[in-house]
Symmetry: D2
Subunit: 177 residues, 4 copies
Amino acid sequence: MTDLNPTSTIRILTTGGTIEKSYSEADGTLKNRASIIRDGLIASLRLPYTHLELESVLNKDSLEMDDSDRQLIADAIARTAGQGEPIVVLHGTDTMSDTAEYCHRALGRPPVAVVFTGAMKPMGFIDSDARQNVTEALLAARLLSPGFYIAFHNRVFPVPGVRKNRETGTFEAVAVN
Amino acid sequence: MTDLNPTSTIRILTTGGTIEKSYSEADGTLKNRASIIRDGLIASLRLPYTHLELESVLNKDSLEMDDSDRQLIADAIARTAGQGEPIVVLHGTDTMSDTAEYCHRALGRPPVAVVFTGAMKPMGFIDSDARQNVTEALLAARLLSPGFYIAFHNRVFPVPGVRKNRETGTFEAVAVN
Amino acid sequence: MTDLNPTSTIRILTTGGTIEKSYSEADGTLKNRASIIRDGLIASLRLPYTHLELESVLNKDSLEMDDSDRQLIADAIARTAGQGEPIVVLHGTDTMSDTAEYCHRALGRPPVAVVFTGAMKPMGFIDSDARQNVTEALLAARLLSPGFYIAFHNRVFPVPGVRKNRETGTFEAVAVN
Amino acid sequence: MTDLNPTSTIRILTTGGTIEKSYSEADGTLKNRASIIRDGLIASLRLPYTHLELESVLNKDSLEMDDSDRQLIADAIARTAGQGEPIVVLHGTDTMSDTAEYCHRALGRPPVAVVFTGAMKPMGFIDSDARQNVTEALLAARLLSPGFYIAFHNRVFPVPGVRKNRETGTFEAVAVN
């Protein structure tokens, strides 16, 4: 007999970015330190049939990432995707589409849905968009067919074909050449 | 030239339910009064390319709904679906699957995605699941093909085939006879 | 040598009231069950030099209290005040001034400050006044000379001389006959 | 006939500090820009018989203040105190006691209570202590006799006689020479 209500696993790879910047009361800085998403956000979501596996790949502002960082992320995605479960990648917004396209070029079509997301405002702020974006990315990871995507502000974009719009502080579709 | 970033409309029909119960400081009651989702929840989501149209159909605890209420909801869905845009229905959890199945029987396959959701705890509480469920329903409404669904706690269930589990306080898949 | 930074104890007596009503997802009721102030509110205050001792005297809506309940509260205050540390009493707003006056008549001038407070909206709501009122009561308990008081919405009232204004949802000074 | 419930005025002077640092989504910085306390904090307090008058004196991290800044603050206090109503000064914690002592030396005993406060974490964070400290300072301003004070984490300290403890992230009493 089939289990109609199996627990599904979603694998979260964290790389840093604004979404996971935390504030130090000792020195007043807002920076990427350790990953804070488990206690800072996931603990307050209701996920009765979802098991999350977290892996911290990097803890960087995405403006400081170079191709060796992107290769690390691509390697982590390749390794993780082999387990057959969808992936959410937390990443800074400034170069999120660069990293997603790098992974797309490096890995081709992945065997699972790989959904990048992040936030315009760190998750610790009252009016952060982190909770909304992570909630969307987790649902998109369950619903989408294999491929690379960015989920942000109630939209899901296939990669390539998406860029951050710095004026408006969100992501937009762009023509793919 | 195609607009790559059109604003999409999602139509929200509110019917009451725990999600929209509000507290009266005058008499200490927690009840369905007017719809409170616009100021109480939607205003804090970032929806740069999504336009929401709200219509209040009912303001009832779903345990007090009968088939004439369900027919009102089905009528509202039929009328609204004719506009060709996806629909989110806010509804009490106790009889959500009854109403969704009633609409499915009454209307057959709708021309758009119709996603029911609600909450175990009213949206005004700090630890309410309303924000999570509405965020999921709004994304599901954009991603899903036409049909009736319930979105809840990081899962999307086709209707029929879903029931509330009162022990665990969430929804689960059930066999369809 | 004097310790310039001793830890002070404040004793909190809980009696129920709107401030401590909690929501049951199982039956949808908002009621006084066990005291929830420790995890629900106090845990998020910063009290590095304050030690709180909590005692649950009652768990009642104050509209349901009678003089035998008030005597229980007066007895608890008398017993607790003997320890020489200030007291905060959490109480429903509807009969808070009745109970405070009852205690004043029964006990006369107490040896410590006894500060009643509560809330117009239960502490679990996002826009509850519970945190503000408890923060004020805890500071008032440290600053005031012995006597009975109500602290509410940035005011401190000696007892007798204060009544709830049901129209405006706050407390006001009244003439003492 | 005496009005038993007059509206009291408290004058808030803002000078910047961690409490009022705000996040820019455009450049990712957390800095003192304009004063944000009215919409960001005061709007959510219940102050039915309190009128707040805000004046922005400076918008600086207190580590960047020098004596010319302190003189500006002292001048603002002297001018404002002349109106006869208590004063709350929002200030960075790092040099709060320096500024308060500077004002005490420059002005002597003021004609009203002047209560300095601030926060270890900016008010926009979910777990900021700003709301607690401002709530305490506003009540202390009503209750205390004329003089300079720091209100912080459920304590009120006369000035001089208080220093920030950087190890523990709070204020402590120190011996006055």
